[in-house]
Symmetry: C2
Subunit: 239 residues, 2 copies
């Protein structure tokens, strides 16, 4: 079984409608897709990999006036289907289970001719990341058992729209009460990225310890946990 790390953060992004930047050179995902694995054969070899499937056959655009996504027509031609093998593959089950598995080398691009092995996506389309565990069958005729030698895990909270620039970038001030906006999903993706991604710290205009205070009671205690811990415990998930 597989447990998604940083689930609380993924949930917060998902409520707003997660957007992931794609660039010609390739851009990492944030949040990074990270998992904990359980129940593998410690001595057996496994390959870990990810791919991305379209959520639907639509193209989207963002309406700034209504701050919402609209269908803008049928999907563009599908991009070359690629997979990203975790660089530690293959490795023993014991190795994979020993610590959190992080796909932080995975990069997204909109360059159809990319030859860096990055994942190619259409901008303004929605995607569902998938995580696959492949058992490396030592038998000679292992091809015959291919169907039963892998398992796929899908976390719906990791869905996102690929964009070349953030669309939903409503700003928020430090002291602003977000109760209403969180509920209706209208707060800015950009601000959440800036607040939670260490590499974007340069754009923070207030102390990160300031704004967990603004969360209404009952809200996910995500930012406080995120700000203080480098190894936070995420809720278990069973796809």
């Amino acid at each position: 079984s597989v447990q998604l790390e940083m689930k609380a953060l993924w949930d917060e992004f998902n409520q707003l409608g997660t957007e992931m930047i794609v660039t010609k050179a390739g851009r990492r995902m944030f949040p990074t897709f990270q998992v904990k694995l359980f129940g593998m054969d410690p001595m057996a070899d496994y390959m870990l990999l990810m791919d991305f499937v379209p959520v639907d056959d639509k193209r989207y655009r963002y309406a700034f006036h209504s701050s919402s996504w609209l269908v803008a027509g049928k999907a563009d031609p599908a991009t070359p289907g690629r997979v990203h093998y975790h660089p530690d593959s293959p490795a023993k089950g014991a190795q994979w289970m020993k610590q959190i598995v992080s796909f932080d080398k995975l990069k997204l691009t909109n360059n159809l001719l990319d030859d860096n092995g990055h994942i190619i996506l259409n901008s303004m389309h929605r995607y569902q990341p998938r995580f696959h565990v492949v058992y490396v069958d030592p038998r000679k005729d292992s091809e015959k058992y291919a169907e039963e030698n892998f398992k796929t895990f899908v976390f719906e909270e990791t869905r996102f729209t690929a964009v070349t620039a953030y669309q939903n970038h409503r700003v928020r001030a430090c002291g602003e009460d977000l109760s209403g906006f969180n509920a209706s999903g209208k707060a800015g993706i950009t601000q959440l990225k800036i607040a939670s991604n260490p590499f974007a710290k340069g754009f923070r205009d207030c102390d990160p310890e300031d704004w967990p205070r603004n969360h209404r009671p009952g809200a996910l205690p995500l930012m406080s946990a995120f700000a203080r811990s480098r190894n936070p415990v995420a809720s278990p998930t069973q796809p």
Copy 2:
């Protein structure tokens, strides 16, 4: 067969008497041990690893007045013998031969209780790095063939003295003629490290393009090549 990369740089250090810093936290080697491999079975799996063996049973000290190393007695008790597996191990022969194999994750420490998996060495002792290629035998009784399933390569020009601070740190000015000092091996290790290690650029007091000019005719054309190229061609070596 194996070819040592940056051989010209190793040679220049070796002439001076290479010193490698060891710290409690672990310090990388410079130059980095890098090799090109040839003649592997492209489809077979190999493990690549390094270890370090004492050159002799002596302890050394550096005499500043005569600028030379002296024997200071018998060697201290041997450190725990460790090996460093290249992190890409195991991988196919084709993968290893595709590009230069770099051991830049290898770190040296003098902490006898190190639990980061670093190589433990005695300061003020001389060591010989060794490089091992292990064929991963697919046969069930592979242990029986262990003796014939690996090959060891030794490059004598990579020998060094482990130190906690550079001993031979004679300074040299930018325009200084080094003919005499290079021949007798009395120029400073520190200056060569500063000149050739990109991470030490902050300590350079003259343009790196300045001092290849000072090399006497017939000297190794190393620094000019090093300064300009990120993928320099090293001389072939056959241990």
